[in-house]
Symmetry: C2
Subunit: 327 residues, 2 copies
């Protein structure tokens, strides 16, 4: 299906940004409501691979340390946001691609997040942070505190350091209605090296999922019943997704690995459950498949527009179909 | 013991920075040689807790988002580096405390790392990064690539995503002689939640340690025999440190948890082994105990100098004693 694009910033579908400062703000309630409204769980990943940025936006040699590169990345991503405005509920910038450009890259990240919020997107920052005590608190302040330069609505975190390392993130998420997505079963081939280690009565990732249940209860929303304590479960492991769902019935799933990494739309929603408008309970990320579509590398703006629109429409259609046919 | 301070940058003990660009550069060889030369394994942690920065350096309200805060942090850390110059082989900035100030904080980190390198310190960046494939590669480029703005000699990484997630870091470490410290058994009370999960014939952290053996072999130095594949093992778990040493005989240990977190100097070196000048095979971090010493919070520069010098001397003496008495 071809969708109309509204690039002039007049789309009123989304809740305005000031809501994130309200005491009643709740990430999962917002996210699930928007996903229901739009009819699909697509999360648009913003992974600016420097080598893949289309000709149209490139400046100079596009080396990570070149002076012109951050501006090129910014122009590219802001244009991408314009194509997706009003069509997608949540965007997921991957901070590594900004960090490789140093602090100037993080300045671009700050502006891209600002613009995304002002366009009505929820911003889920993929940073996979994890550390102990006061260090975790500094990370939580960096990403989950209202008014912080790299503020996001939600953040991915790593559980290897244990529950006490996640507490500073949970406390700030609770105070400001922010979301967390804890890595449980990641999409990569080697994810089993640690996550699938076999324990008595299960595996490491199942044990991590079970240990998160009290946090999920603390961050549960009143409106939709979904928790702002989410988990990352790769589309490439649908059976594992169902096992995690059993342990965490109300955790929102962030599902990477759909598209470029090989997971199908149906596999991606394997951990979703029936809701009022189809299967729900998660978002499915696509980054490369949308940002760098086939035939999107030319110098022609109109050709690039058509290529990215088609890639976006295709993902929305596939995922919309997967959630509605499973209901 | 009271040591003479040489704050005018004329200390020639350390290898100059251009060495890091040489094809023969090897992090562990450099580190262990310097530790032998200095006679102690102290690593000075640079964790600028905004609330603890002494009166002498504070500007304005020191909120993470205040405009004056990054400059105050920079002045504080550069002065700290001056006090430690020539006395300590390696400094460990904790990136979270810079990230909480946004991109301006990371600009400060860049300048602090530059200054530290030019003073002859090795820079071990504590970022605990971990992600899959091309994302891990972007992180590796950010922190391990010569000439990158946030370039470090070594980086801490998180193993939860498995061996394939560590490969891009290992490849860049190998190409440029950089070091990696993989989280194995962290110092916090909750570290057991995942790391101590019990498997057939061991625990998760032991299994992670065993899985790292091939990487350790790849990154082994020719001069000292120590590997640039290091591991993080908390001073608070000396028995676990010895268990990790059995699986990884040539991995350099980064030992957090000494001092403020409760581990003694003797416990901190529990995983060290006899070398030509005492126990060796690791570095022991102290951050808060040195940066924010007792009686160091006044307005008097001379009083602060005395307090930080005393704290630094005490840690050097304690750790020097622990490695020499165990030899």
């Amino acid at each position: 299906m071809t969708r109309e694009r509204k690039n002039c910033g007049n789309v009123k579908l989304m809740t305005p940004n000031y809501m994130t400062q309200s005491p009643d703000y709740h990430f999962a309630d917002q996210l699930i409501s928007r996903v229901r409204e739009l009819g699909h769980p697509l999360c648009l990943g913003l992974d600016p691979h420097l080598g893949l940025i289309p000709e149209l936006f490139r400046r100079g040699d596009m080396a990570a340390t070149s002076e012109e590169t951050p501006a090129a990345v910014e122009a590219f991503l802001l244009t991408v946001l314009g194509r997706a405005e009003g069509l997608v509920s949540v965007v997921k910038p991957q901070i590594a691609f900004f960090e490789q450009m140093g602090f100037r890259g993080l300045e671009v990240l700050t502006r891209v997040c600002d613009r995304a919020r002002s366009m009505g997107f929820l911003v889920l920052l993929d940073a996979k942070r994890g550390d102990i005590g006061s260090t975790a608190d500094a990370y939580a302040r960096a990403f989950l505190e209202p008014g912080s330069p790299m503020e996001a609505h939600a953040l991915t975190i790593n559980p290897y350091l244990g529950l006490d390392s996640m507490e500073p993130f949970a406390a700030r998420a609770e105070a400001h209605g922010r979301g967390l997505f804890v890595l449980v079963k990641t999409s990569n081939p080697g994810s089993g090296d640690v996550q699938d280690l076999s324990l008595e009565g299960g595996t490491v990732y199942q044990s991590v999922a079970a240990a998160l249940a009290p946090l999920a209860a603390r961050l549960k929303g009143k409106e939709t019943g979904w928790s702002s304590l989410g988990v990352v479960v790769g589309a490439t492991y649908p059976g594992e997704g169902q096992a995690v769902r059993e342990k965490l019935p109300d955790a929102v799933f962030l599902v990477p690995g759909y598209g470029a990494q090989g997971g199908s739309a149906t596999e991606a929603v394997a951990g979703f459950v029936p809701g009022p408008r189809g299967l729900e309970g998660g978002i499915v990320n696509s980054s490369r498949g949308i940002l760098f579509p086939e035939h999107g590398d030319g110098q022609e703006a109109a050709t690039w527009d058509r290529a990215i629109d088609a890639a976006l429409d295709r993902a929305i259609d596939e995922l919309g179909e997967a959630v509605s046919s499973g209901a």
